[in-house]
């Protein structure tokens, strides 16, 4: 009893914090840290999930270097990031500025813009097929006809990845909007008042005040959209199955195929680690270069 009291005394007011924290830490260890370590270990094995794994040293890593499909998928993933990251950030910011403008009806738009983020990707994918169907009667093609542009094949080799990126932009911009909206709410009205007194116009206020003060939000959004773009899987899996001719085969889709079709979990893990290293490097670079002059006050 005396011992328990002594522990309580020493841990003091943090006692409750630890009670809450330990289950979370255990969860994090088992479901986050453990898989990360475990997948690194199995990347040195031929691991068919059922049956006995065999240690093959650097075999999977050597195979990876000479696997053209992995490099193709990596290129597709980078292209996707190129199409996706900047528009998602810009559209999210514009939507946040709009709902923060206090114009009538912006409350409704707040929900409307966020709706795609909570809609099932399967539903959005069905919507996408309906819009971008290649027949003349398709919505996108009908719109092009107004401008005298002939019908396009949106799921063909040239446009498929771009169409998938559009789907992701549509789904994620609402979430980005929420981050920026929170950032905008954190900027004091006094700063704008002072700028107004100094004679700043709307553009100057945005460029000189809003944008710099949103830098912490932008850094966060940039990092999470970059990570999200490198991990894209669902739209490629549902809409195009990586096709045509690997044009939308992203790295995560490749990992899925290697793991669940070929039962090569060791090899799939080594590809996953390449992705992990790329994400880690990019995040560190982004943080290093953009975080230097970020003020969180």
């Amino acid at each position: 009893m005396a011992k328990v009291t002594a522990v309580k005394k020493k841990t003091g007011s943090n006692y409750f914090v630890w009670i809450v924290l330990i289950p979370v830490m255990l969860h994090f260890m088992i479901f986050e840290i453990f898989p990360v370590i475990f997948s690194f270990i199995i990347s040195f094995f031929n691991w068919p999930i059922v049956g006995a794994p065999r240690f093959i040293g650097l075999g999977n890593w050597q195979r990876l270097l000479g696997d053209p499909l992995v490099w193709k998928s990596l290129l597709v993933t980078f292209k996707f990031s190129l199409y996706y990251i900047l528009p998602t950030i810009v559209i999210g910011l514009l939507l946040a500025l709009f709902i923060n403008s206090k114009l009538p009806g912006t409350g409704i738009f707040k929900s409307v813009f966020f709706l795609p983020s909570i809609t099932s990707v399967v539903v959005v994918a069905a919507l996408w097929v309906w819009i971008f169907i290649g027949f003349d009667e398709g919505i996108a093609n009908s719109a092009l006809h107004i401008f005298g542009i002939p019908s396009q094949s949106y799921f063909g080799r040239e446009l498929a990845l771009f169409v998938l990126a559009l789907l992701s932009i549509y789904r994620v911009s609402g979430t980005t909007m929420v981050y920026y909206y929170a950032g905008l709410k954190g900027i004091s009205e006094d700063v704008y008042e002072a700028a107004k007194i100094d004679g700043a116009n709307a553009w100057q206020k945005f460029y000189k005040i809003t944008l710099p003060l949103l830098k912490p939000t932008t850094l966060y959004v940039l990092i999470i959209t970059t990570i999200g773009s490198l991990q894209v899987f669902d739209s490629s899996y549902i809409l195009t199955r990586g096709g045509p001719d690997y044009a939308t085969s992203t790295l995560v889709y490749d990992i899925y195929k290697v793991g669940f079709f070929d039962m090569q979990f060791g090899y799939a893990s080594s590809i996953a680690y390449i992705l992990f290293i790329i994400i880690l490097l990019l995040t560190v670079i982004q943080y290093k270069f953009l975080n230097d002059d970020v003020s969180y006050n």
Binding site: I30, V50, G51, F261
Partner: protein, 441 residues
């Protein structure tokens, strides 16, 4: 003290211990695998619960549950000591669910499988061979071509429960414009090509082959078999690069490049909707999941199922034979098979087929599709049925075949270069499959 303890290196130590024990625990369980074909644990005289994983086979879940309940009740009355539980899982990601359950030695006794998954799983020793249970009564009541679909390396690994079949369906109103009727539908692929050409001249799309879908759905397998070819032989020789293989792929490329099918066909699986909307004159329809649907049966235009088309070496229709297999985790395969035999006996198979609409593999059951339009024609085509490629790599070959067809169809690769690359990829897959199979022995 507690606070200090946490602040110090002890936390890192605790984390390391936790991870190490998790690794050890998982490592140990991963090694513990059962040997297929050996009944383990309790002897068959003791009470045993047979667990089966099924999937939603019909669009009426309540009726389907009642069907399973009735079958279980009557089975348990006849087989005291064996209880049965049927768990209906969603279709999505079923391979992953099976694989993870079996890896943890927590798999069911029986699982429903499509042939490509069954062949791969059997080859990787996750299923138990059932030759000793596959009696002549079963064998003789099931057509030989269907029996072949549930064999791997000459051994039976499943009892057929259902068959789905594909054939070409035609919009007769569109064909009228080129002077064709139900009585002169194409009987060969050459005649089909002539039809496509005439429709193109009228500004119509003649077909919608889902080139981004599975090779069964887009008729590639049916065409290859009809021309006397395969992708890979059952003993592992890749033959897609021979003359017949090139002929089929050149034909598909021509149909795509000449505009006989919409550009979307390259990658969008939208054939049924396009046909129903009257945008294409024909497509490779699935018998049960599509023809029996309300949308199809309620079509406003005239339509008909065409004859199974011939190539140089015969006529084949793409089919799927779904079967019930016993997993390596079954502790009592005798009891498990008793339940499979019960579900697939003549009476219960008839009940199952009548409810789900799938064709019954047993000849004695006959056609249970009733008065639905088109299904009589398809039932009579069952003799032409041939499913996925016979080699256990079928499931891994499909994702390689699809991009190769797309590359050839778009002209990104010539037929020669396309099949040469494809052959190399398939040979790689066969090597890794054999490697995995050796590990699971």
């Amino acid at each position: 003290m507690f606070k200090k303890w946490l602040e110090r290196k002890n936390l890192a130590k605790a984390a390391a211990v936790l991870i190490a024990s998790s690794l050890l625990f998982t490592g140990c369980t991963a090694q513990k695998t059962n040997t297929p074909g050996q009944a383990k644990g309790p002897d068959s005289s003791k009470a045993y619960n047979v667990k089966m994983w099924a999937f939603p086979f019909s669009t009426e879940p309540d009726k389907e549950k009642a069907m399973w309940d009735d079958m279980i009740k009557s089975f348990q009355e006849k087989n005291p000591g064996i209880t049965v539980s049927v768990q209906t899982l969603p279709w999505g990601n079923r391979e992953q669910k099976m694989m993870t359950a079996l890896a943890a030695n927590k798999g069911p006794d029986i699982v429903y499988m499509n042939p490509d998954i069954m062949k791969q799983f059997a080859y990787n020793n996750v299923l138990q061979p059932i030759d000793k249970y596959y009696t002549d009564e079963i064998k003789n009541d099931i057509p030989e071509n269907v029996n072949e679909e549930v064999k791997v390396n000459g051994k039976f690994y499943g009892v057929p429960l259902l068959i789905d079949l594909r054939a070409f369906v035609y919009n007769l109103d569109m064909l009228k414009e080129i002077g064709m009727t139900k009585d002169n539908l194409p009987t060969t692929y050459d005649e089909y090509e002539q039809m496509l050409k005439k429709l193109k001249e009228k500004g119509k799309y003649g077909t919608y082959l889902e080139l981004g879908g599975s090779p069964s759905n887009n008729s590639i397998y049916a065409q290859l078999y009809s021309e006397g070819n395969d992708v890979i032989t059952s003993d592992g020789k890749v033959v897609i690069d021979n003359a017949a293989g090139k002929k089929v792929l050149s034909r598909i490329a021509k149909w795509y490049q000449e505009g006989y099918m919409p550009k979307d066909a390259l990658n969008v699986q939208n054939a049924m909707s396009s046909f129903i909307a009257g945008n294409v004159a024909s497509y490779h329809v699935a018998a049960l999941s599509e023809v029996k649907s309300k949308e199809f049966q309620g079509l406003k235009f005239n339509w008909a199922i065409g004859p199974v088309m011939k190539g140089e070496k015969g006529a084949y229709a793409s089919s799927t034979v779904g079967s019930l297999s016993i997993t390596k985790d079954s502790q009592n395969p005798d009891a498990a098979f008793k339940w499979i035999a019960w579900v697939t006996n003549k009476d219960n198979m008839k009940t199952f087929s009548s409810l789900t609409g799938f064709f019954a593999p047993r000849k004695s059951v006959g056609n249970t599709s009733g008065s639905l339009k088109g299904l009589d024609d398809l039932y009579s085509d069952l003799k032409f049925a041939r499913g996925e490629i016979g080699h256990p790599a079928a499931r891994q070959v499909n994702p390689l075949l699809t991009p190769a067809i797309q590359a050839i169809a778009t002209g990104t690769k010539t037929v020669d270069a396309g099949v040469a690359d494809l052959k190399k990829s398939i040979e790689g897959v066969v090597t890794t499959l054999n490697d995995v199979s050796n590990l699971t022995k």
